[in-house]
C-alpha cells in the first residue's frame, strides 16, 4: 500500500488514481480530508424514494452542465446490507453516457450509517473540490421520510419525486419534504404527474418561511425539463452566494463533518471501556480521560 504522502502529492498533480485511492482510505476510516482552499464549487444533493429516478435525473442534468464546459463529479450512495455488510452499487447503470464524457463517478456504500449518506461523503466532497470539480452531485440512498442528512452536506437540495406514490397526506408529512430547495417532479410524461405538481404547488402556497423553493417537471425518457432544472439550480447557487446563505451552508457541512468524526471516536472509545459496575458519571469521567489523555482534569 502506497503511503499517504505520496498519494497526496500525486493527487495535487491531478492523478485520478490517487484521488480514487484517497477516497477509499477515507471510507475505511484511515484518513480524513478537510475543506480545500477553493470556493467556486457547488454541491448538489439529490434525494428521494427508491426508484423515482435520482440517478437518471443526475445523468440528464449533468449532461447540461457538461455542455457549459464545467467539471462534474458524482458521489452515489447505495445501502450496505445489515447481515453481511455487502452492497450492490447500481447507480452507474443510469449514468452510462457521463463516464464517456469525463465525469468522475464514485459509488459508495452506506456502511451501516443511517440518514441516507455514507461514512466518507464529506471527505470525498472535499477531495473532489480540491481536485478541481466544480459541480459535485451527491446522490443519497433511496430515502425515507427521516433520511435528511443530505441537508447538512449539500448547498442545493433536489428532492426527486414521481407520480402515484401517495396522496397529499404524504406531502404534508414533516421530514424530507421540508428540506428541498427544488422539487423535481420526475416521470412527468405520466398523466398522474399533474396531480403531484398540484399538491406541491398547494404546499408551497402555504409556506410562510420566506424560503425560495421551486418545482420543476422533468422526464428522463423524453429528456425534457433539464435545461429549466439547470437554470433553477444555477440561480439557487448565485442567490445563495449573494445572500450569504452559502457561507451558512458551508458552516453547516463543516459542523456535520466534525460532529460525525468526534462521535465516531467517542463511540469507539466507549466500546473499549468495560462499563460493568460503573454508573453514568464514572463512565463519563473514564471516557474523558481516554479522550483527552493527560490533558484531562477530571477528578
Amino acid at each position: 500500500m502506497m503511503g499517504v504522502d505520496i498519494l497526496l502529492e500525486r493527487y495535487r498533480n491531478g492523478d485520478i488514481f490517487a484521488l480514487s485511492r484517497l477516497i477509499t482510505l477515507c471510507e475505511d476510516g484511515k484518513y480524513h480530508f478537510e475543506e480545500p482552499d477553493v470556493e467556486n464549487y457547488h454541491v448538489i444533493g439529490v434525494t428521494g424514494s427508491p426508484g423515482v429516478g435520482k440517478s437518471s435525473v443526475i445523468d440528464r442534468l449533468a449532461a447540461k452542465f457538461l455542455n457549459d464546459g464545467v467539471r462534474v463529479a458524482v458521489l452515489a450512495v447505495d445501502p450496505s446490507g445489515p447481515f453481511t455488510q455487502g452492497a450492490f452499487l447500481g447507480d452507474r447503470v443510469r449514468m452510462r453516457d457521463l463516464n464517456a464524457r469525463g465525469v468522475y463517478i464514485r459509488s459508495m456504500a452506506s456502511r451501516g450509517i443511517l440518514g441516507g449518506l455514507g461514512p466518507a461523503v464529506c471527505d470525498a466532497i472535499n477531495l473532489l473540490a480540491g481536485f478541481g470539480f466544480t459541480r459535485i452531485f451527491v446522490e443519497t440512498v433511496g430515502a425515507g421520510q427521516a433520511d435528511i442528512d443530505v441537508m447538512n452536506v449539500a448547498d442545493t437540495i433536489l428532492l426527486v419525486m414521481a407520480p402515484s406514490m401517495g396522496d397529499e397526506i404524504q406531502i404534508l408529512k414533516a421530514g424530507i419534504m421540508e428540506i428541498a430547495d427544488v422539487y423535481v417532479v420526475n416521470k412527468s410524461d405520466v398523466e398522474e404527474a399533474s396531480f403531484l405538481r398540484g399538491q406541491l404547488e398547494a404546499l408551497l402556497m402555504m409556506d410562510e418561511s420566506g424560503r425560495s423553493r421551486q418545482i420543476v417537471n422533468t422526464s428522463c425518457v423524453l429528456d425534457k425539463g433539464f435545461e429549466e432544472l439547470k437554470m433553477v439550480v444555477e440561480k439557487h447557487y448565485t442567490d445563495m452566494v449573494s445572500s450569504g446563505e452559502m457561507a451558512e451552508r458551508r458552516r453547516r457541512r463543516k459542523r456535520y463533518f466534525v460532529t460525525k468524526l468526534v462521535m465516531k471516536e467517542i463511540q469507539e472509545l466507549l466500546n473499549s471501556i468495560n462499563i460493568d459496575g460503573l454508573n453514568f458519571e464514572e463512565i463519563k469521567k473514564m471516557l474523558c480521560r481516554r479522550f483527552l489523555g493527560s490533558r484531562c482534569d477530571c477528578v
Binding site: 500500500m1 485520478i16 488514481f17 480514487s20 485511492r21 477516497i23 477509499t24 471510507e27 475505511d28 476510516g29 450496505s80 446490507g81 453481511t84 455488510q85 455487502g86 452492497a87 450492490f88 452499487l89 447500481g90 452507474r92 447503470v93 443510469r94 452510462r96 463516464n99 464517456a100 468522475y104 463517478i105 464514485r106 459509488s107 456504500a109 456502511r111 461514512p119
Partner: protein, 132 residues
C-alpha cells in the same frame, strides 16, 4: 471498519444477456463485498475508467457474445496503458481452448456455466488477499 473488497462487474460489448452478471453480483454482495455494476454494453475504455474511479480490487467481466478474445485483449491493453493493475475474472460462454489462451494473456480466472458461486467468491478473496 477494515478494508472492504470492491468489485466491478461489467458487461463489455454487444451482449444483452445480463442474468449471469446479476447472479454473480448478488452472490458477491452476499459474501460481504461491495459490488459496482456498470450495466450493459460497456466499451473497454468505459470499463477501465470505471475501475479506476471506483478504486476496485477486482474486475469481473461477463461475456456471452463470443467476442471474449478481442474484448479481454483490449481491456488488458488499456489497463497496461493507464497503469491499472488488478486481477480480471471472466465468466460466460468461453470454449476451453480460449480459456487457456485468456489465462496466458493474464486473465486470473475463467468461469463457464455451472461454476459454483462459492468458487468465485473464494477465488476473489484469494486474489485480493494477495494484492493488499
Amino acid at each position: 471498519m477494515g478494508k472492504k473488497i470492491r468489485v466491478l462487474i461489467a458487461k463489455p460489448g454487444l451482449d444483452g444477456h445480463d442474468r449471469g452478471a446479476k447472479v454473480v453480483a448478488h452472490a458477491l454482495r452476499d459474501a460481504g463485498m461491495e459490488v459496482i455494476y456498470t450495466g450493459l454494453r460497456q466499451t473497454p475504455g468505459q470499463i477501465v475508467n470505471a475501475a479506476i474511479q471506483e478504486d476496485v480490487d477486482v474486475i469481473g467481466l461477463s461475456i456471452l457474445s463470443g467476442a471474449h478474445m478481442e474484448l479481454c485483449g483490449r481491456i488488458l491493453d488499456l489497463m497496461k496503458e493507464k497503469g491499472l493493475n488488478v486481477p480480471i475474472f471472466v465468466g460466460g460462454i468461453i470454449p476451453d481452448e480460449d480459456a487457456e489462451k485468456l489465462k496466458e494473456m493474464g486473465i486470473a480466472g475463467v468461469y463457464g456455466p455451472g461454476t459454483p458461486l462459492s468458487k468465485i467468491v473464494e477465488d476473489i478473496r484469494m486474489a485480493t488477499g494477495e494484492r493488499k
